[in-house]
């Protein structure tokens, strides 16, 4: 009975998920002549290495910003009585479940030359000329943080609501200042949540395509954008496959690190 129940999933995933990966491997290792396979050839390409490092850097800084912004917000939600927590979580979930494309598009309207931000700055007399916000690292960061911040908050709240608040109270009773109680008791207790959220955000940031393409422009490409460029403009499937393989390997390494660092129950809590 059980194999029969799982058969449709296995069939679908075999044809639409596993075989496409095999195809990526096959094409990428078909290589650029001789002993050079796609991946080694790629690693000697300065453009790719630059984009690869940019993608890592972007993922890292977005992750850090989300954690710093999200942690106090998660503390606030976790500190509410359970009956009211749902309402506050809903406020975070609302943007989470709306289209990434729509949210990115709105940022382009806010940050554009005639956009809301420039109009406000000019109206306030801060600048007289419209400033350039689009196609800057600032725009990409704003867009990605807005998209990923709910993931950070949901994961952190999941861990914070599970821990024993009595321990913090005990520290206070025993004479610790609020700051000391937070720094030596609360923060270390939330560490699994912080690690889980950080890795999850990092993994998700690595594959971003829409936001860098719309808000970052040609100078702020990620690997995902470069893959698209190789396929749709350069028509170079070998390079695209090799890039996809590198992106996938980086993701798998991050997932493996995550599984090693965090107990599984703290993981998929809030992940989209």
């Amino acid at each position: 009975m059980a194999p029969l129940l799982a058969a449709p999933l296995l069939l679908l995933f075999a044809i639409f998920f596993v075989v496409p990966f095999v195809e990526i491997m096959r094409i990428s290792f078909a290589g650029k002549g001789g002993a050079w396979t796609g991946v080694t050839w790629l690693m000697s390409s300065p453009v790719f290495v630059l984009v690869f490092l940019n993608t890592l850097k972007l993922a890292l800084s977005v992750t850090l910003i989300c954690l710093v912004l999200g942690y106090p917000a998660a503390c606030f939600i976790a500190g509410q009585p359970a009956s009211r927590r749902g309402i506050y979580l809903a406020l975070v979930l609302l943007p989470f479940w709306t289209s990434v494309l729509v949210r990115t598009y709105t940022w382009s309207l806010v940050l554009g030359r005639e956009g809301l931000l420039n109009a406000s700055l000019i109206w306030l007399g801060i600048t007289s000329e419209p400033q350039r916000f689009m196609f800057t690292p600032l725009a990409v960061h704003l867009g990605m943080v807005q998209i990923l911040l709910p993931v950070a908050i949901l994961t952190l709240v999941g861990v914070m609501t599970e821990l024993d608040a009595g321990l913090v109270r005990a520290a206070r009773v025993l004479g610790a200042s609020p700051w000391r109680a937070f720094w030596h008791v609360y923060l270390p207790m939330t560490k699994p949540g912080i690690v889980a959220a950080a890795m999850l955000l990092f993994i998700l940031s690595l594959g971003f395509y829409i936001t860098p393409a719309l808000l970052g422009g040609p100078r702020h490409r990620t690997i995902a954008n470069l893959i698209d460029l190789q396929v749709n403009q350069m028509n170079d499937w070998t390079a695209a496959s090799a890039m996809a393989l590198v992106l996938l390997a980086t993701t798998i390494a991050a997932v493996a690190l995550l599984r090693w660092l965090v107990p599984e129950r703290n993981l998929y809590g809030g992940a989209r």
């Binding site: 194999p3 679908l12 639409f16 606030f76 709105t106 807005q146 609020p178």
Partner: protein, 269 residues
């Protein structure tokens, strides 16, 4: 720093974060009702002009209905495949169930562009591109994990003795599933269905690679963004946001109803 001040500071911080998260969505609404051809803020005159274009212009309304149609097909497939495999994984202790679960939720972690590229290259060779069937099945791969996550979580929380009681009282496996398990799973299945629908309805990257000339709403918006800024995009975006809000509302109601039922059952027991 007294705890009171800390609480207030956290509250202010939370409000600022919610403002940051919601503001881009709220900002869209007035723009979509703007009469002008230029997306200026605040609007000078109000009108439903762009909504009229969205629902009457063949290229826009066609894309909208196509997205809804694909979304519904993907949802039906995902619910059927996802619920069946959740049962196999949680209830029937299939050998390698952990591995199967890992595979089933892998599309949530693997970057969309990698999945899209692999499908594109394989289906180009098989000449499967530009087919509605291919697009629906491709979307199902990224939609089905949501159903599996939500339904298997519900199954794990469900008390198996109730099912066993039904079996002891003479119900066959099918009857006990239909009369006992399925009603208890209904909220989770409904929530999973909503998530699956939006995974398909919002998808851009896979559609971009495998759809060819088939233009879904996100693809229509994407193609438009690369050409010019048509205010119809704002109206289309508002419709997409409104649909997600309704969907999220349904999923949330279903989920909390399920929790309530679970709680009363536990209280009764």
């Amino acid at each position: 720093m007294s705890p009171r001040i800390v609480r207030i500071a956290l509250g202010v911080w939370f409000c600022a974060i919610v403002f940051f998260l919601l503001f881009p969505l709220v900002f869209l609404i007035p723009l979509s009702f703007n009469e002008s051809e230029i997306l200026s803020f605040p609007p000078t005159a109000w009108s439903l002009r762009w909504y009229r274009v969205l629902f009457t212009d063949a290229s826009w309304s066609g894309a909208l209905w196509l997205s809804v149609k694909i979304g519904v097909l993907v949802t039906i497939l995902s619910v059927a495949i996802g619920t069946a495999s959740a049962l196999a994984i949680v209830r029937h202790r299939l050998p390698g169930a952990g591995l199967l679960y890992g595979l089933a939720i892998a599309p949530l972690i693997v970057p969309g562009i990698v999945i899209a590229l692999g499908m594109f290259m394989l289906f180009a060779r098989l000449k499967w591109l530009e087919s509605l069937t291919t697009l629906v099945l491709a979307h199902t791969v990224v939609a089905v994990p949501y159903v599996i996550v939500v339904v298997s979580a519900a199954l794990r929380n469900l008390d198996e003795t109730i099912e066993r009681a039904a079996r002891v009282l003479g119900a066959g496996p099918w009857r006990s599933f239909m009369l006992v398990t399925l009603p208890a799973l209904r909220p989770a299945i409904l929530a999973g269905a909503m998530f699956a629908f939006f995974a398909s309805f919002d998808d851009l990257i896979i559609t971009l690679f495998v759809s060819g000339a088939i233009e879904t709403l996100p693809l229509r918006i994407w193609n438009d963004l690369n050409l010019r800024l048509d205010p119809t995009v704002a109206a289309a975006a508002c419709v997409m946001v409104a649909m997600s809000m309704i969907g999220l509302g349904i999923a949330e109601i279903a989920r909390s109803a399920g929790l309530r039922r679970l709680r009363t059952e536990q209280a009764d027991g």
